[in-house]
Symmetry: C2
């Protein structure tokens, strides 16, 4: 897939965020990384979980977004992560995305308070949509209960779709549960509600069931292969490609994913700056990095 | 207790945040509420969990803090909640507190990423302390694992105390587990590390064991009684006072605490504006509010 129509589809990656020595965001490396992803036919999920977006201030995210648009990266290939605990920040970043020409945003629910009601979560999303008041807006719900601890339930999604058809455009299902994704596809078939797999682990099964694509952390390090699998999942060599992608993912998943992907990126680019993460994350220790690179080499990657 | 020395002690309340019709913070009602708390000998834990601080932007918090100082409320009676996922925001709000004369801040750890290491959490706290670089700073760790899902472990606390003696001043233990609080008291006795109970439920036992005081949500609605119990826990009528306070707390805990305390405050002040909460929280429904007020009346409160 080389173009995306107004609805997102195919493979996207939560773009890793590189940091300078002083801990500030390195805009240059970020844009170069975006360009590499686009060359591999991978769309840009800016400010995702794996972008360390939670560790960035709203001002940092706004500035980085402006730099991305100034660099002429294609806004229609972007899914902008706007979720925050304070809804005023969600509105602010969504407005910045729309101003730059990106209509698609990914919204994790407010995640500090736990055990909140579907009524409260409905109001949170509705408040943002009403504040924006722009028919171009496409909201993708971000269901990642192991991290946010705040789920988007099926009845809540149904209520949002009924209240805001067209605006509620889909979901990234990072539950890690194939059955959950299948139930989403079954429940909302025909509702113009696109389900994106949260990783490539079950990609063939999910594409066969009707997923619109995949938004995967490991597309940062294995983008071309995941994009090819997502596009040609029904091909004869699909299962072999799936197996290869999953073995690579497992190599990263032995460590904390974000530091591991950054370590691999640093090695591939011969640019140690890429290893930096923000607290509370910690970069891989030297022996962990060596172990990861050894395993990647054994898998035929980065060698 | 009518004065606090430079170290906090006694009873504090996470100050409820009132909102205007348009959802903005109502500074006037907030300051009036602070004044009522101080009159009851209750210190001000600004921007706590029960303040809906997670639903407020850093700009809102800064403006409210400036308004509080402008209103001449005593900075030495304040514990300023500064925790956030983005550490730059923690630094910014801590600097604002110090500039206003409040040296004591409450820091919930970055709470988006789960399963992070003690090393990463150590770095998060250390980074803030190093960035502030002010010997007046007193950090109270905020251990509230049921909400943050990110705990301060005993080994982490020990490491922080060793690295930053004097600056790491204590903890609010909102684990809800008396044994956890007792283990903190036992482990760090003599380390100038003050343990605050996270609620009044076990207040007598905790004061007897050496707690410095209590930081309790229900001090918003039962401040004088909790402050008296905290001050005179060893008095003959202590157990009866404890029982009464606990029955009142249980009446609120039948509902979502924040909306319930706001509903009671609205009723007490005959000011319906106080019922407002920010999404994802939801105000009590009319029948819930009636049920709460009936139970409070039966307990002899607000009647």
């Amino acid at each position: 897939m080389t173009t995306l129509d107004r609805r997102l589809a195919g493979t996207l990656s939560p773009v890793l965020t590189p940091f300078n020595t002083d801990g500030t965001v390195c805009t240059r490396r970020f844009i170069e990384h975006c360009e590499r992803l686009l060359e591999q036919d991978v769309g840009l999920a800016l400010f995702g979980t794996n972008s360390e977006s939670a560790s960035m201030t709203i001002s940092e995210k706004r500035r980085l977004l402006e730099a991305v648009y100034a660099a002429q990266l294609p806004p229609e290939r972007m899914l902008v992560g706007v979720g925050a605990c304070a809804l005023a920040e969600v509105v602010e970043l969504t407005q910045a995305a729309l101003a730059g020409g990106s209509c698609s945003v990914l919204m994790v629910p407010p995640f500090y308070y736990k055990g909140v009601s579907d009524e409260g979560l409905f109001r949170a999303v509705a408040q943002v949509i009403d504040a924006i008041g722009d028919a171009r807006l496409r909201i993708y719900l971000y269901h990642i209960p192991t991290v946010s601890q705040v789920p988007f339930s099926l009845p809540l999604i149904a209520r949002l779709l009924a209240a805001y058809p067209g605006v509620i455009a889909g979901i990234k299902d990072s539950s890690g549960d194939l059955n959950h994704a299948l139930s989403l596809l079954h429940e909302f078939r025909g509702a113009h509600f696109d389900v994106f797999a949260g990783s490539e682990i079950h990609l063939i099964e999910m594409m066969r069931a009707g997923c619109a694509g995949v938004i995967s952390a490991t597309a940062n390090v294995n983008g071309a292969a995941i994009a090819r699998l997502c596009d040609r999942w029904a091909a004869a060599d699909g299962p072999a490609e799936q197996d290869t992608a999953n073995r690579l993912r497992a190599a990263f998943a032995r460590f904390a994913m974000i530091p591991a992907m950054k370590a691999a990126t640093a090695a591939r680019l011969d640019d140690p700056a890429w290893t930096r993460v923000r607290a509370p994350l910690v970069e891989l220790q030297a022996e962990q990095q060596a172990s990861l690179l050894k395993e990647l080499a054994a898998l035929g990657f980065y060698s």
